[in-house]
């Protein structure tokens, strides 16, 4: 909110959003109050206010959409951070404990994406692969953590005879209302069957209807993949001889879509949507401040998956080796910037430094920067999110209307083209 206040101009915001910045903030407070806790107190979007201990997997969190205010707030709140990754990401530096993981191609895994295609690939460690240092698969790491928790709980319990060390209340998510730490390992590993990555693949192959009938051996024989059976078609039947077409069930076989009307829905008469004038799809001007001339666009990187692989020397040598900002040639000339110069990108919120690349395909009112660069690539560890406030799009917070429910697919979105900046030669 601090960043939101600093970046956005009252006039522009009001003109675009039809509400003042104060009103927006009040609305957010209201929605948050409704949402706190596992199920959302008033059945909004769940969020957890008081978490202090974090176990994070491969989450370079400060390269994601917020600047230094968020970083400061997060680090103040986090009392203890355990971090699991196969590489030294920028975030790894802030962890209390670092747990080295094996990378994607050193572990057993099944990769699939039903909805796009009908195959599952088997990832497996190359034969005779030597582990790097103490790296373990994420499954093994979790099993070990669980074993330690049980060991400590049992020790305390034996010393004191007090059941509170092994029966932890969890009224919301546990059926019994408790977590039983004396049987935690058995529960977590299904009585020892599921201890590591290979176990996980075997159990998934045995128990997932859509994978049947398959084993690791049968996948190997076929060259490392399986074909999902007819049960895998979520929104379309799977035919043996035809490609998968999403939504055939709904569009041709007349099953209901999971919406209020059962059809593809463009009209949403949720209060908040009506209030925001978005009950039918509505394009709006961007909320970014108008006093800065360039919209900051951060398209997907060519070869990194967000920040994963961004630190690969091999790949970095195939671009410019460090963050670079693409600038229209005419703009560059006006600003006295040459290709390869260091430039400062700034707005009221903050600044970052990068190399200039003169790029004819860049519009004159924008600068382009591939996303995925982590803060540790930048001078002063100040990444490109220093100039971004990322207010949530209010529409994302509405709940309890038709398909607008909190669930696995919910992904709080922000505003498109939300920030603007100016640039100068350093």
């Amino acid at each position: 909110m601090e960043d939101f206040d600093k970046l956005y101009e009252e006039d522009t915001f009001k003109e675009v959003m039809g509400m003042s910045k104060e009103q927006y903030k009040k609305k957010v407070e209201e929605m948050l109050a409704k949402s706190e806790g596992d199920k959302g107190i008033g059945h909004g979007k769940s969020y957890w206010k008081d978490v202090q201990t974090f176990l994070l997997f491969a989450d370079a969190r400060f390269r994601r959409n917020k600047g230094s205010t968020y970083k400061k707030a997060f680090l103040e709140k986090a009392k203890f951070i355990a971090y699991v990754d196969f590489r030294m990401s920028d975030f790894a530096n802030y962890a209390d404990i670092l747990l080295p993981a094996k990378s994607h191609y050193e572990v057993w895994d099944l990769r699939t994406n039903p909805g796009y295609h009908r195959f599952a690939n088997l990832a497996h460690p190359p034969t005779n692969l030597k582990p790097v240092g103490e790296a373990k698969s994420e499954w093994e790491i979790c099993t070990m953590i669980v074993e330690k928790i049980q060991e400590i709980a049992m020790k305390k319990y034996k010393e004191t005879g007090d059941k509170k060390y092994i029966k932890i209340p969890d009224p919301e998510l546990s059926k019994t209302g408790y977590r039983d730490l004396d049987t935690l390992v058995d529960e977590y590993t299904i009585n020892g069957q599921l201890r590591d990555d290979r176990d996980a693949v075997e159990i998934a192959l045995e128990n997932t209807d859509q994978f049947k009938p398959n084993t690791i051996e049968s996948m190997f024989k076929r060259g490392g993949y399986l074909t999902l059976n007819e049960k895998a078609g979520k929104s379309s039947p799977l035919y043996p001889d035809k490609p998968y077409n999403a939504f055939e069930n709904n569009l041709f076989l007349y099953e209901r879509f999971e919406t209020l009307s059962g059809r593809i829905t463009y009209y949403v008469d949720d209060d908040l949507w009506i209030q925001e004038g978005a009950n039918v799809p509505t394009a709006k001007e961007p909320i970014r401040p108008r006093k800065f001339p360039f919209v900051l666009m951060t398209p997907h990187a060519r070869w990194s998956i967000h920040s994963t692989y961004k630190t690969s020397t091999l790949l970095l040598r195939l671009q410019r080796g460090k963050p670079y900002v693409m600038i229209n040639p005419e703009i560059a000339k006006k600003k006295g910037i040459k290709d390869g110069d260091e430039i400062r990108v700034y707005n009221t919120l903050g600044e970052f430094y990068a190399m200039a690349k003169i790029y004819p395909s860049c519009p004159k009112d924008a600068i382009l920067l591939e996303h995925g660069w982590e803060p540790f690539f930048y001078k002063g560890r100040k990444g490109h999110n220093e100039v971004v406030a990322s207010p949530l799009n209010l529409l994302e917070l509405s709940d309890g209307w038709g398909h607008l429910k909190f669930g696995g697919n919910w992904d709080g979105n922000q505003h498109a083209y939300e920030t603007s900046v100016d640039i100068e030669k350093v």
Partner: protein
Amino acid sequence: MSKRQLAMVMDLNKCIGCQTCTVACKTQWTNRNGREYMYWNNVETHPGAGYPRNWMEAGGGFDQDGNLKDGIIPDMVLDYGVPWDYNHDELFNGSLLQTKSDLEWGPNWDEDVGGGEYPNSYFFYIPRICNHCSNPGCLAACPREAIFKREQDGIVLVDLERCQGYRYCIAGCPYKKIYFNPKISKSEKCIFCFPRVEKGLPPACAHQCVGRIRWVGFLDDEEGQVYKLVHKYKVALPLRPDFGTQPNVYYVPPLFDPPKFDDNMAPIENSRRIPMEYLELLFGKEVHQALETLRKEMEKRARGEESELMDILIAYSHRDMFRLDNNYYQQEAAKKGLKGSEFFKIIDQRYLQGANTQRVEIKDYTFHEKVLPLPQKEKHGGH
């Protein structure tokens, strides 16, 4: 001329510049032992300076009368770019991730830059490997006759035992696709993945290509798609044929570029952004006919008619795209009564012997000396 000639065709309309081919080649052959700066396969943006920088202006090749032209050796820092390393080890102590050397230039430095002005800017990619030319400039320039062309398939290789690191080959190759290895002081280049090819597998760059833009096969195999693209339909053209080396990598020129926009941002019908002069420079006058054929065949297909050419370009199956003439190499080996591990001896004894070659001590280490005049031929004979 060799008895037969392997060739590769690349369809520039489908190259997305992902560099998967570059990485396939690099991890297979050039990430070690003095080859770090070499990109036997590189993908560059055109129009652009490419890799090494301004290679098209660096001389070499032959003039109209078939005489070898002078050429230069590109500069390591400014033209190839010194491959930079990072302080990955220091990250643990909270350091920033930084390069250990200054960044001057690299193999893909002007990625996506191209030409034109927004919104009518344009660019396209050209992946480049050694062309395994029928009249190699590198071979002609070498005073030691250390470069040879294999009889069986026309692959051009360096005999490292004979190579003395004079680097005339680099000046002589107009594509700058042969490189000096500073660790052993000898020249090295793309080997068309011959150990793979002899086993029936295409070169790694072609096999890994995400866009499925590459075909590999023998030019005299009339059933093969390479033959059809090059000779039957004549839509695949050599790059810079005016350099006179008769390259054996062929390109389907870019047919698709978005139309230009007028001042009101409305597309202008039948306009092209990529200037035809530039395509002519790259592929010669034949480019007009090639583009015409492509257009016609596409229209045919759009009308619902058959088009063999379009079927080939869709690249349905690797089996058809890579035709290494089932067991050609096995038969060659059998003729000589070779089998098993002797297999490789058929054609590349000279190359394999070079595996343990000694470093050459070069007294006159003139990397910076730019123009290399043509050398006198040494008498063929002992080392």
